[in-house]
């Protein structure tokens, strides 16, 4: 039975067990491919382009194949052939122009799963190949225009100090020329596959109430929007539901719209439910990946290490279509100057189109790429100055009152120094740094650090435009139900939201339910992205829960009884007791979208990661032997889950740094399998020593929580590279740090 306020024990700050844990450990959690087959259900499959660019001349269906039970969908069957996202450049199915390998062209469905695969082989495509553009440097030259008029998908310019003038290039060059010490370098990072262990999948069907899709997805309202556009149905006739989702990391942010559209098209044509589940190869080949990035940096500082000016150019590879590239590029640009204060800055960022599958959302969203560059660069500056890199970072780190490159004055929740000092102490960085600098044998040891921050929530005025909503309902017996489109894709939303509601309404945790995210039943909370779920949507949920709890208690005070009795009376009288609220961002946020100036984010989460490695000097194999981190989360609502986020993100970054590499040959992926796209196993993972720092953000829920979903992806790679540099004396500026590349770099005599 529900208890009154006096008995409530706070749950925020406690590592309560995972709310969705039990079904997951007994095997009853239903992921999309576990959903029972619907009557008459068909299996869908996709015929894709084998070439990266060309003109589709014809599609040939083998006359010797029995097509009688196969449903066929081509571009002609698509009511409005565009995938609704930022731009409308991407077709649902290619009609004539093919812009990347694996671009979908024909959809097939059949009740017999084996026959649909045979049918796939019976389709042949006549494509006239066109010249391709496969990397950003080529794209920038615009010898072949593959997107818009100049291949440039987006450009941002951030200027500060003397560079904040019309001719910002001359101005920043002049400042740099005056600096005592100038250092320049270029740094690159590569594609990364999200490799969620559950591949993309969806089941779609039509009935008298409209169109339905249930799938593995992060953002049900993205799919809703895509259906609205392509099918032109009424919003109320589109029903998108999230199934239990086996990881996303951004990979299930925008892509599910495409697979859901495909399944729904097949279903519309066949009149039957259609299940589409990608196998691993198709998932790696066709879906989005992390944008590769190339950064050129020139900085100036004083001899004592005081950083003065930065000039930076970022080129990101957007792939064939725009998808979310402008937003990824924005976040990359806004994190490009790192966790440091610069008096003068000019940061130019460009996204360029190539004939490769569109790159898209992946945890960190552009920031890991630019933080890789700036952290490597600061390490280089330290080497030039003969200073310890962490000391140099300590000297220049942003503090309370500092001004970022966009002119944002940091006046709240700043914990860079604290994270740095805590990580430094717990890792015994100074002692190890000294010890490992001694001459070593075949196995060389090293230790290195990365310091960084990550903006939580949408950029600038994003949240103001988005108007995210969430609701809390009162249920019989005094239970509460959370309704939000923020999905739990493994990161623990269900658990943490329950904790927030339990404390805000002062009801036991076991009395709080979490509604299945379905667009028909939950309000649009905005997408599950950008480290915004806890900080932004969590704060709406908190306010709504407080409101509902207060109403029940008011009733209790007026007419007595328990919380449950008062709730039932209220429900009997009013029919429905719900608080549906909309997010209002802190009023201090001022953002100029035109000039990219102002408060880029309401606040930042901070971290310092320290990696210890062993490198075999003969095989150049790198083993991460220890990993320490201190991460400021604002307020740890569930410390165990916070640690899980930090460690999981850090290991993805370690994988990106050391093992993960997509091998391309003329726009084709040569290793689209788990056998040859290598992610870390338990033996590759270091022991993690994770310290949580709590520097509350007063607008965050639970007493000041900030978003931390993406932050841990930002610092792992540069920390590992710094440790490798310490061990071998080889400064690696390009990812990944595979043995082959380390060997090549050492053979080329690049030792410092």
């Amino acid at each position: 039975m529900s208890q009154g306020p006096s008995q409530h024990l706070p749950t925020v700050g406690k590592s309560v067990p995972r709310a969705d844990g039990t079904p997951k450990v007994i095997g009853t959690a239903r992921y999309v491919d576990d959903l029972p087959a619907m009557p008459g259900e068909l299996h869908g499959a996709t015929v894709r382009s084998p070439v990266p660019r060309g003109i589709l001349k014809s599609i040939r269906f083998d006359p010797n194949f029995d097509w009688s039970d196969i449903t066929i969908v081509t571009a002609e069957d698509v009511p409005l052939n565009t995938v609704a996202l930022i731009a409308e450049d991407q077709p649902v199915l290619a009609a004539r122009h093919i812009n990347h390998a694996y671009e979908p062209i024909v959809l097939l469905a059949c009740a017999d799963k084996r026959r649909v695969l045979l049918a796939k082989n019976a389709v042949s495509l006549d494509i006239e190949a066109l010249p391709t553009v496969l990397d950003v440097h080529e794209s920038l030259k615009n010898t072949h225009t593959v997107w818009g008029t100049d291949n440039i998908q987006k450009r941002y310019l951030i200027t500060k100090g003397r560079a904040d003038t019309e001719d910002s290039v001359s101005a920043i060059d002049a400042v740099l020329a005056e600096c005592e010490v100038r250092v320049s370098g270029s740094y690159s990072s590569h594609h990364q596959e999200q490799l969620y262990i559950e591949p993309q999948g969806v089941v779609a069907w039509w009935d008298e109430s409209g169109v339905h899709a249930t799938g593995s997805l992060q953002c049900p309202f993205y799919v809703h929007k895509a259906f609205l556009k392509t099918f032109g149905e009424q919003p109320s006739r589109i029903h998108i539901t999230q199934a239990v989702t086996g990881g996303g990391f951004g990979g299930k942010e925008e892509y599910p719209s495409i697979i859901a559209l495909h399944a729904a098209l097949l279903s519309k044509k066949s009149g039957k439910p259609v299940r589409m589940i990608y196998d691993r190869k198709e998932d790696i080949e066709a879906t989005t990946k992390r944008h590769p990035a190339f950064c050129e940096i020139e900085t100036g500082c004083d001899k004592d290490g005081k950083l003065r000016a930065i000039k930076m150019r970022v080129l990101m590879d957007g792939g064939a279509y725009l998808t979310l590239t402008p937003v990824v590029l924005s976040r990359g640009a806004l994190h490009a100057s790192g966790a440091y204060e610069w008096e003068h800055a000019r940061i130019e960022a460009l996204a360029l189109a190539t004939n490769t599958p569109p790159n898209g959302a992946f945890r960190g969203f552009g920031a890991p790429q630019t933080i890789w560059a700036i952290e490597r660069h600061i390490d280089k500056v330290a080497a030039v100055l003969g200073m310890d890199p962490l000391e140099l970072k300590r000297k220049n780190i942003l503090k309370l009152g500092s001004v970022t490159a966009t002119g944002q004055v940091l006046h709240t929740s700043v914990a860079g120094v604290e994270c740095l000092e805590k990580a430094r102490a717990v890792s015994e960085y100074d002692r190890r740094r000294k010890a490992y600098s001694e001459k070593q044998g075949r196995i060389a040891r090293g230790i290195g650090a990365a310091v960084f921050m990550h903006g939580a929530g949408f950029t600038g005025s994003g949240e103001r435009y988005l108007k995210g909503k969430a609701a809390v309902d009162l249920l019989p017996g005094g239970r509460l139900r959370i309704r939000t489109a923020s999905t739990d894709i493994g990161q623990g939303t269900e658990t943490v939201f329950r904790q927030i509601v339990s404390d805000a309404a002062q009801v036991p945790l076991s009395d709080v339910d979490f509604a299945v995210p379905c667009t028909t039943h939950v309000p649009d909370s905005g997408p599950t992205v950008a480290s915004r779920t806890v900080m932004v949507v969590g704060s709406i949920v908190e306010a709504a829960a407080r409101e509902v709890g207060d109403r029940v208690r008011k009733e209790q005070q007026a007419s007595g009884g328990t919380f449950a009795e008062a709730a039932d009376r209220l429900l009997a009288r009013e029919g429905e007791v719900t608080s549906l609220l909309q997010y209002s961002p802190p009023s201090y946020i001022q953002w100029d979208d035109q000039h990219y100036r102002g408060d880029a984010y309401p606040c930042f989460a901070w971290a310092c990661f320290i990696a210890e490695v062993e490198v075999d000097r003969e095989t150049f194999e790198v083993t991460v032997t220890n990993f320490w981190s201190a991460t400021d989360v604002g307020r740890a609502i569930n410390p165990t889950q916070c640690r899980g986020q930090i460690e999981g993100g850090a290991l993805q970054a370690i994988g990106w740094a050391l093992f993960e590499e997509l091998v391309w040959d003329k726009g084709i992926i040569k290793n689209p399998r788990m056998t040859n796209y290598i992610v870390p196993t338990a033996l590759d993972a270091p022991p993690f020593h994770t310290v949580l720092v709590e520097e509350p953000f007063s607008f965050g829920p639970g007493g000041g929580a900030k978003g931390i979903g993406e932050l841990p992806m930002d610092g792992g790679a540069p920390a590992v590279a710094a440790a490798v540099e310490h061990a071998l004396g080889i400064p690696m500026d390009d990812l990944p740090l595979t043995p082959e590349r380390l060997f090549a770099r050492s053979a080329s005599g690049a030792q410092t």
Binding site: S15, P17, R18, D20, G21, T22, P23, K24, V25, I26, G27, T28, A29, R30, Y31, D33, D34, Q194, L195, Y196, I197, E198, P199, V244, T245, G246, G247, G248, F249, D279, R280, I489, G490, Q491, G492, T640, Q641, R643, G644, I646, E647, G648, G649, A650, L651, Q652, R673, M674, T675, V679, T681, A682, L683, A685, P687, F688, T690
Partner: protein
């Protein structure tokens, strides 16, 4: 072909082609969708089950090979309505996030608990199970915690 398999302690007769993958028979006709498919080629471990006590990838085993043998899947780990200490630890100590690797991970961890520990380390025993979410630390901690609870239950006190 009619096959006889003992699954989670119960004898089942199932009609299937002997060349069907064990994973498909478990997930299809037997309705045991706890075992997952992450790669279909023996790399991810999401489909791990025990075949006569040994961990195997059900995506690589043909059901014909299982005739008359016994199979343990994630659905067989709980004791009735009570979670095993291992399952409890995964729920309480961050061993499961998205949960898609969890069934296979639990089976490998269960095999490890029953193994001669001097021959294989905990991390080795789960090295065939890829988890993309956790970084493995909470999984290792969950398994260690479960071992500890097991000892407490067996001896009624924390062993010293």
């Amino acid at each position: 072909m009619n096959l006889t398999l003992t699954i989670n302690g119960t004898v089942h007769h199932v009609e299937a082609s002997p060349t069907a993958r064990l994973l498909d028979v478990l997930r299809g006709p037997l309705g045991l969708t706890g075992s997952k498919e992450g790669c279909g080629e023996g790399e991810c471990g999401a489909c791990t089950v025990l075949l006569d006590g040994d961990p195997v990838n059900a995506c690589l085993v043909l059901v014909g090979q299982c005739e008359g043998r016994s199979i343990l899947t994630v659905e067989g780990l709980a004791h009735g309505q009570t979670l095993s200490p291992l399952q409890q630890a995964f729920v309480g100590h961050g061993g499961a996030q998205c949960g898609i690797c969890t069934p296979g991970m639990l089976i490998s961890a269960h095999a490890y608990e029953k193994s001669t520990k001097s021959l294989v380390t905990l991390r080795e025993s789960i090295a065939g199970n890829i988890c993309r979410c956790t970084g493995y630390q909470r999984i290792v901690d969950s398994i260690t915690q479960a071992e500890h609870e097991d000892r407490v239950q067996t001896f009624g006190t924390v062993g010293s």
